[in-house]
């Protein structure tokens, strides 16, 4: 079992409090993605697992054993850095076997391991080249092979794809997912790209300013966000948020909006004018000016034109409600309260 548990973990740099009293359990064998904007603390958390950026206070457990002050090399982990951090003066082979040599792995075993993993990442012909002569994608594979060859219980990855071009990024994404399926070890992956998070993760941990906003599967985090921040971070374009007269907030996803020429009863409906139209192929994005608000709508109907007057409406089951602090109000929190909110939503319709 390589479950990782954070208990009341804090990280302060001089006066800056990056993380304060954080609790988190990362499940064994799953592909967990820590996602959030720059400075939210996700890389800090990752480095705490690795041991290269120790926590200021709190405890970290792996497999039930405390690893808070254990040296990085003694933890059963491997890490792939954002800038690969491969040793520039050594050949690819020497890079991969450096860790093995230090752990006094016998030569025959080393050779076998290098051969096996070089083949997996596709670097067999490059084993005796220096990293300076290789491309970014190849250097990334060196970092990957170097990590895999240690056969760790946990793989840590710090934005490994962000320095690659778009096409290579997509390719590597699927390769990493396949790798995870094959090895079935715990993966902890850090990224700021929510698309990457959604596509790769078994569990997403969304962070903001050192706090965990939500920890859930991609489906849950998309369909059932806990707060406004989560609702607006995940999903492109982000959820439309409207202030309600009683201080609460209401939101709906762009792809759940329907557009028509006539007003519709029994749901939230608003009149508006189309400001921009982006035809993306299978779907079209419209920006609609509804007086007080501008809404983004994503639909497969390309036939509306700019400047056209339309009515947008959202069915009740696709409405989300949040309180004044941005926390989600669910139907299960109180039927009457929820019915009242729906009524208020309907009351905000403007045709």
């Amino acid at each position: 079992m390589a479950e990782i548990r954070f208990e009341k973990v804090c990280k302060f740099f001089d006066k800056a409090r990056i993380i304060e009293d954080l609790d988190l359990t990362i499940q064994d064998g799953k592909f967990t993605v820590l996602v959030g904007a720059s400075g939210c603390g996700k890389t800090t958390l990752l480095r705490m697992i690795a041991g290269i950026g120790p926590a200021t206070s709190g405890h970290i457990y792996m497999d039930g054993k405390e690893i808070t002050d254990v040296a990085p090399s003694k933890r059963d982990i491997a890490m792939v850095f954002q800038n690969y951090a491969i040793y520039p003066t050594m050949t690819v082979r020497e890079n991969i076997e450096f860790g093995l040599k230090n752990k006094k792995v016998p030569k025959a075993e080393r050779e076998a391991l290098i051969k096996e993993y070089a083949e997996i990442v596709g670097l067999t012909e490059y084993l005796d080249r220096k990293p300076g002569t290789l491309s970014g994608g190849q250097r990334q594979r060196i970092a990957l092979a170097r990590a895999m060859v240690k056969k760790p219980a946990v793989f840590l990855m710090d934005e490994p794809l962000s320095n690659l071009d778009a096409k290579l990024r997509v390719q590597m994404r699927t390769e990493l997912i396949e790798l995870h399926n094959r090895l079935k070890t715990t993966f902890v992956y850090v990224t700021h790209d929510q698309v990457e998070a959604m596509s790769m993760a078994d569990v997403i941990v969304l962070m903001n300013k050192g706090q965990i906003m939500q920890e859930a599967s991609p489906e849950d985090i998309y369909n059932d966000p806990n707060n406004v921040f989560t609702a607006q971070f995940i999903g492109t374009p982000p959820m439309n948020i409207v202030d309600m007269p009683d201080g609460n907030k209401m939101g709906f996803r762009p792809e759940k909006v329907k557009m028509s020429d006539v007003p519709v009863q029994g749901c939230y409906c608003h009149k508006g004018e189309i400001l921009t139209r982006e035809m993306l192929g299978s779907e079209t994005l419209y920006k609609i000016d509804c007086g007080e608000y501008t809404f983004m709508v994503k639909t497969d109907k390309p036939d509306f034109a700019m400047g056209e007057k339309v009515f947008i409406h959202v069915a009740n089951e696709h409405l989300y409600f949040f309180d004044a602090e941005g926390q989600r109000i669910r139907k299960t929190d109180g039927e009457n309260q929820y019915a009242q909110l729906l009524q208020n939503a309907g009351g905000m319709s403007n045709v």
Partner: protein
């Protein structure tokens, strides 16, 4: 106006302005070049000319001797070769020790901590002080009397006072100690700047690869520093070959001429003894050739080992 006239007018305009610009650009550069010709190239040529004659400062070209001066210093009289040997010994002692210590200090003081900053500042101070001052300071420390602090220290361990600067076994070593003390801070600083350009993640990756501090130093840090080390090697070798002030002040070349260096030989022959200006000239030329050879050899011999990124 006809086309031809217009063209001619345009050409004239171009020529006038063009020439003015050229002259101005050259005028900006001319002072520098003039100074160089007067005080670098001309003296060099003059020196070669001098080396072929026998004379002194007031009358440099008394007698023509051709290559006799060169034969004198290289073959016939032993003094020049002795000073050459002394200087070479010094260089072979000083360069490895100072270079290694500088690298070690730089790596030791890498991390950005208050104590490291403080230590760097203290180690760098001797470099700002005049060599002659340092020579006096260390002459006092190495004083042969019991009042010299060096003697004071060894007396604590039960040894007798030692004539540090006056005995041929320790004189050069003391000069070397003084020069190492004076320059370590500066060299370490240069290596420190180079170390800063190594991304911290490489060291973190090494830590995760169970690399000990020693292994990381030899397999990662040192290769990455090799360009600077290489350059420093050349600079230190050529500079230490020219050592003059510190030796002259601390030992005077003694005892006998066991610590006399090449530059001291040149100086004495130019100003102290009579009719030996030609010898000074010849030995200067030989020194220059040696320095050039050293630089060339270093480049050829070591360039393969340097890792460039």
């Amino acid at each position: 106006m006809s086309d031809l006239t217009l063209q001619r007018q345009a050409k004239r305009k171009l020529n006038g302005k063009f020439i003015r610009n050229q002259v101005f650009s050259w005028a900006l550069v001319l002072p520098a070049i003039l100074f160089l010709c007067l005080f670098t190239f001309y003296p060099m040529g003059n020196l070669v000319h001098l080396s072929l004659y026998r004379g002194n400062i007031t009358n440099p070209y008394k007698t023509f001797r051709g290559i006799e001066n060169y034969l004198d210093i290289l073959v016939r009289r032993p003094q020049f070769m002795t000073t050459l040997k002394n200087t070479a010994l010094y260089v072979c002692m000083y360069v490895p020790i100072c270079l290694s210590l500088s690298v070690i200090f730089a790596v030791w003081l890498q991390k950005a901590r208050k104590i490291n900053n403080f230590a760097q500042t203290c180690f760098f101070a001797p470099h700002l002080v005049a060599t002659i001052s340092s020579a006096f300071m260390w002459s006092w420390i190495f004083s042969p009397e019991s009042s010299g602090i060096a003697n004071g220290i060894i007396k604590v361990f039960g040894f007798n006072t030692h004539n540090w600067l006056g005995s041929s076994s320790t004189a050069m070593v003391c000069v070397m100690i003084m020069n190492t003390w004076a320059s370590i801070g500066h060299h370490a600083l240069i290596f420190l700047s180079a170390l800063k350009s190594i991304p911290g993640e490489v060291y973190e990756a090494a830590e995760l690869d169970s690399s000990s501090a020693v292994k990381t130093f030899f397999k990662i840090t040192l290769p990455l520093l090799s360009p600077q080390i290489f350059l420093m090697l050349i600079t230190m070798t050529t500079n230490s070959f020219k050592i003059f002030e510190s030796v002259r002040q601390m030992t005077g070349g003694g005892p006998g001429i066991s610590t006399k260096t090449v530059c001291m030989f040149i100086y004495d022959n130019a100003f102290e003894t009579n009719n030996t200006l030609g010898l000074a000239g010849a030995s200067s030329i030989v020194l220059t050739i040696i320095l050039m050879l050293i630089t060339l050899l270093d480049f050829k011999g070591l360039e393969k080992k340097v890792h460039y990124q």
